[in-house]
């Protein structure tokens, strides 16, 4: 595959100006136009061969129009002059529908002129297929050679998202984000039991904002032997005895814990009750801001749209707010929200630059950027040394959390037993742990240091109604939590 052609600036400008004229003419007082092009390549591997390759190009225009204090949105990929004008008029009609019941004033934003591009060592869209296949073929060869392994799977994803953003006030932005990553999974069967182990994490693997060079760090062939051995061992492992234990979450599982129990409840639209129709609300009501003790004093969490490698890093969000850094939890206290401009204004705060849309057809909504757990000190071994009776849990297998983001239950691929400050070598299958968010984070007794801190990417975060998928990042180092309920299914 050759490199990707950018959207011609003249075309983007022509489409945007046509949309702005049509929307203003139809009654809008302010208009934002996004011209978006996404290119994706997805590779699925099965037992050492490339099983399926899909290439997807997505090009269209999204228009957000403001009438009174109501926003309306329309997206179209019918890019004729008439097609774009019709969409602009549709956005105005939609805005009139929301304006009729709007209660909060909307202030139009200042101008901006921002460009951003993911720093790449190797643009994945210039890398040949053979080179993309090679690490998976090598990893699968290792896995399939292990007695008891019944299958090897792998996925790779490469994504480029280019956005031109124009506003009727003269704002202008252009950015291109590139994501690359993947992972491998070994399946093992023994009797009626089927177990899996994945590296570096399950589902899509680890997808980061970077070029093909991420595969050097992923080292999938190097991880293959361990993954395969553990998958086989799990088929003969015992379930985890139920009880209250000290738990250490390895990085990839901790990243999902952050995602579900920190990222989503700190979304300000949820706190305002505007996400009820799908995902629910949040226990972090506005009156708890700056008051609630969310976690122990070791816990510092930050929404950071500038973190290197983070899928939630960009130059500007989808309403033109420059990327910012917003503390969410400081020394355990709840101090901030993920927000866009309008929601933040209701609290008298600046936007957290977190209004994002999956693509041109979607309305921008409050989404996570990179929500990171700041590092503590020491190593994973130091955390283990502080555990009398516990488990180290690695790689997510299932996830569920209530509509206020309080009661959660996560399943992991494996639990490693810890006794007397050391890993015993014993493992348990089908482990799950359950908790209630503030109590769980309140039990955080240690976070490993910067050397153990890394970025984890999740590219299938669903939110909104109609649902949108978004790529987000969570940087963290392994962390230890006291008095956690664990068991196996």
């Amino acid at each position: 595959m050759s490199g990707l052609e950018p959207i011609p600036e003249a075309l983007a400008d022509e489409l945007a100006q046509g949309a702005i004229r049509a929307a203003i003419s139809a009654g809008a007082r302010f208009v934002e136009v996004r011209v978006v092009k996404r290119d994706r390549e997805a590779l699925d591997f099965r037992d050492g061969i490339l099983d399926r390759r899909r290439v997807d190009r997505d090009l269209g225009v999204g228009i957000r129009a403001l009438v009174g204090d109501g926003w309306g949105h329309a997206g179209t990929n019918v890019l004729s002059r008439d097609g774009v004008a019709r969409a602009a008029e549709g956005a105005v009609l939609a805005a009139k529908a929301t304006a009729a019941t709007a209660r909060q004033p909307v202030v139009t934003p200042p101008n901006f002129d921002i460009t951003y591009e993911t720093p790449l060592v190797r643009d994945p869209f210039t890398v040949g297929l053979d080179e993309k296949v090679a690490p998976f073929a090598a990893a699968h060869d290792v896995m399939m050679a292990v007695n008891g392994v019944s299958g090897a799977r792998g996925t790779a994803v490469f994504l480029s998202k280019e956005v031109w953003l124009f506003t009727s006030g003269g704002g202008r932005g252009h950015q291109r984000q590139v994501l690359s990553g993947g992972g491998v999974t070994a399946l093992a069967k023994h009797g009626d039991d089927v177990q899996i182990r994945s590296a570096p994490k399950g589902f899509e693997g680890n997808v980061l904002q970077a070029g093909f060079e991420v595969f050097d760090d992923l080292d999938l062939p190097g991880e293959a032997q361990r993954v395969a051995d553990e998958a086989v061992a799990l088929t003969r492992a015992e379930p985890l005895p139920a009880g209250e234990k000290t738990v250490i979450l390895a990085g990839s599982q901790l990243s999902l814990q952050i995602h579900e129990s920190v990222g989503h409840p700190t979304e300000l639209d949820r706190a305002f009750g505007e996400e009820i129709s799908l995902a629910g609300a949040s226990f972090l009501l506005p009156e708890k801001l700056d008051r609630l003790q969310f976690g122990s004093e070791r816990v510092n969490l930050t929404a950071d749209a500038t973190t290197p490698l983070g899928p939630g890093t960009f130059g500007f969000d989808d309403e033109g707010t420059p990327a910012t850094v917003t503390p969410l939890v400081e020394r355990g206290r709840f101090v901030g929200y993920l927000s866009g401009r309008d929601a933040a204004a209701r609290l008298g705060k600046p936007s957290a630059s977190a209004l994002r849309a999956e693509s041109w057809e979607h309305l921008p909504i409050v989404r996570m950027v990179n929500v990171n757990l700041e590092p503590g000190e020491g190593s994973l071994a130091d955390l283990v040394a502080g555990v009398d009776d516990g488990v180290l849990l690695d790689v997510n297998k299932s996830w569920s959390i209530d509509d206020l983001r309080l009661n959660f239950q996560f399943g992991c691929e494996i639990a490693y037993a810890i006794e007397g400050g050391r890993l015993t070598g014993e493992i348990y299958k089908n482990p799950v742990y359950t908790g209630v968010t503030p109590k769980f984070w309140g039990g955080c007794s240690g976070i490993a240091g910067p050397e153990a801190w890394q970025m984890w990417g999740w590219s299938y975060c669903g939110k909104g109604d109609p649902v949108q998928l978004m790529f987000v990042g969570h940087g963290c180092a392994p962390a230890r939590f006291e008095r956690v309920n664990v068991r196996s299914t």
Binding site: D56, G75, A94, A97, T98, K397
Partner: protein, 467 residues
């Protein structure tokens, strides 16, 4: 049915897009062009306001090219001549690259299977083109009534027209247009989500003001009855699940059990168990995209243009069949069933059962509740996940919106949320005689799938944690 109205993606426009794509064929033995169009009007409610409204016109072309047994797949929304040409070029280049590796799994395009026509009610023009002004008018009384009662009304009211067309050099030539309304209403005490609430939803080809009024009144009344929810002990509870709760479970059974990839990988609860009892005898599940009970949103053919066949998944508790696309059928040595998923969905992975029906029994909801000495009436679940132990279909999830304690067959009071964790196959085996309800409801998911479910009575569902 109302008179047809103008659409961006009518038959002529669709034919033109497919013909322009086909014309670019240059280096393939066979080529398939699939077009999907969506012309939709979305509306979202919260705090008794219209908080989001939008429109989308989305046309997407997917090309599958076959060359010497190699398969290439490419998708685009760039409908210009250059964009369509690039899409074909990409698919053909992939097919050529894949060809040397195709031994033992050579791709081919299938000839059309036996046709199944969509029912005439699949397209209701009034629903397809329902505008925001009309929606707002239909909702006005409900919004006012909820505000008057101090309740917040929330929900979604999405409507639109879906177009799907598939043509191939193997002889497939399929076209379908259908309307849909994806409607959900929640009534909530404030602060919304923190106190009592009630929920109703439907996914249907036709909607009118009466549907809105009925649903709105039902959630308003139920929310009042759900005032002041109280905790109840964890453990095993006999439960009556309303259809929305059953749909959450069926969605996950489809995800982990009925799809071709799960069966091939051996992770499905049906793998190596076809012909064996996998759950209770009162459970019969079929997948049928023609929506034989006259509810839901029909889909007569799949992403390959193959007619969706009626597939018996579980019959009287015995595992019968999974679903197949052409490729999984070739691997399994059987006929395809018309369940190819859309390759444009990045997470798509093999054939999927998208229209699962739990075949109804004869009991009304009141009769099911009347069988509870001490139990729970559950309106729906929240955040069900079925990945815990797929071979046993172990799932977890939480109560959401108006669950009631029932004693002596009578509803007493609302209960606070708590989490269940249980094998759903084993739970379904605890459906007693007379435990399958009569009245079916259609519910949808993120991807426009449609699950048709009755209410169920289940003995001893395990609740494992609370707040």
């Amino acid at each position: 049915m109302s008179a047809p109205r103008p659409t961006v993606f009518d038959r002529a426009a669709t034919d033109d897009i497919i013909a322009r794509t086909m014309a670019r064929r240059a280096a393939s033995d066979d080529l398939e062009v699939a077009f999907t169009g969506r012309e939709v009007a979305t509306m979202r409610l919260a705090e008794s306001r219209v908080v989001q409204a939008g429109r989308a016109t989305v046309g997407r072309v997917t090309v599958r090219a076959v060359r010497a047994g190699g398969l290439g797949i490419s998708t685009t929304t760039d409908l210009s001549d250059d964009g369509l040409a690039a899409c074909v070029r990409e698919a053909e280049a992939q097919a050529a690259t894949a060809s040397p590796h195709a031994e033992g799994d050579a791709a081919s395009l299938s000839a059309p299977g036996p046709s199944r026509e969509a029912p005439s009610w699949a397209l209701d023009a009034d629903t397809a083109w329902l505008d925001g002004e009309t929606k707002a008018r239909w909702l006005a009384t409900a919004l006012e009534a909820h505000e008057k009662d101090g309740l917040a009304l929330a929900g979604r009211f999405h409507t639109g027209l879906g177009t799907r067309a598939v043509r191939s050099t193997a002889g497939v030539d399929a076209f379908h247009q259908g309307s849909y309304a994806d409607l959900a209403l929640s009534a909530l005490e404030r602060p919304a989500g923190h106190r009592a609430s009630a929920y109703r939803a439907t996914y249907t080809a036709r909607v009118d003001a009466g549907v809105i009024a009925t649903m709105a009144e039902e959630v308003r009344a139920t929310c009042h009855r759900a005032h002041d929810p109280r905790p109840v002990p964890l453990g095993a509870w006999d439960v009556v699940l309303m259809p929305a709760a059953v749909a959450d479970l069926l969605l996950w059974l489809a995800e982990i059990g009925f799809g071709s990839r799960a069966v091939e990988d051996g992770t499905s609860f049906l793998a190596e168990r076809f012909g064996q009892r996998v759950t209770g005898e009162r459970v019969t599940l079929v997948d049928d995209g023609l929506m034989p009970y006259g509810v839901g949103v029909p889909s007569p053919f799949d992403a390959e243009g193959q007619p969706r066949q009626r597939v018996s998944l579980i019959e009287g508790g015995v595992g019968r069949s999974g679903v197949h696309d052409s490729r999984s059928a070739r691997r399994a040595g059987c006929a395809g069933t018309g369940h190819a998923s859309d390759p444009a969905q990045l997470a798509a992975d093999g054939a999927r059962a998208n229209h699962v029906h739990f075949l109804p029994g004869s009991a009304g909801v009141d009769e099911l509740v009347g069988q509870l000495d001490r139990g729970l009436l559950i309106s729906r679940f929240h955040y069900v996940n079925g990945m815990l132990e797929p071979r046993r279909a172990v799932m977890t999830g939480l109560l959401r919106d108006a669950a009631f304690l029932v004693e002596g067959g009578r509803q007493r009071h609302a209960v606070e949320t708590m989490r269940f964790t249980d094998s759903i196959l084993e739970a379904f085996a605890r459906i007693p005689a007379g435990g399958v309800g009569r009245d079916l409801e259609p519910h949808t998911t993120f991807d426009g799938e449609c699950f048709v479910c009755p209410p169920l009575l289940i003995r001893g569902l395990q609740f494992t944690s609370g707040r």
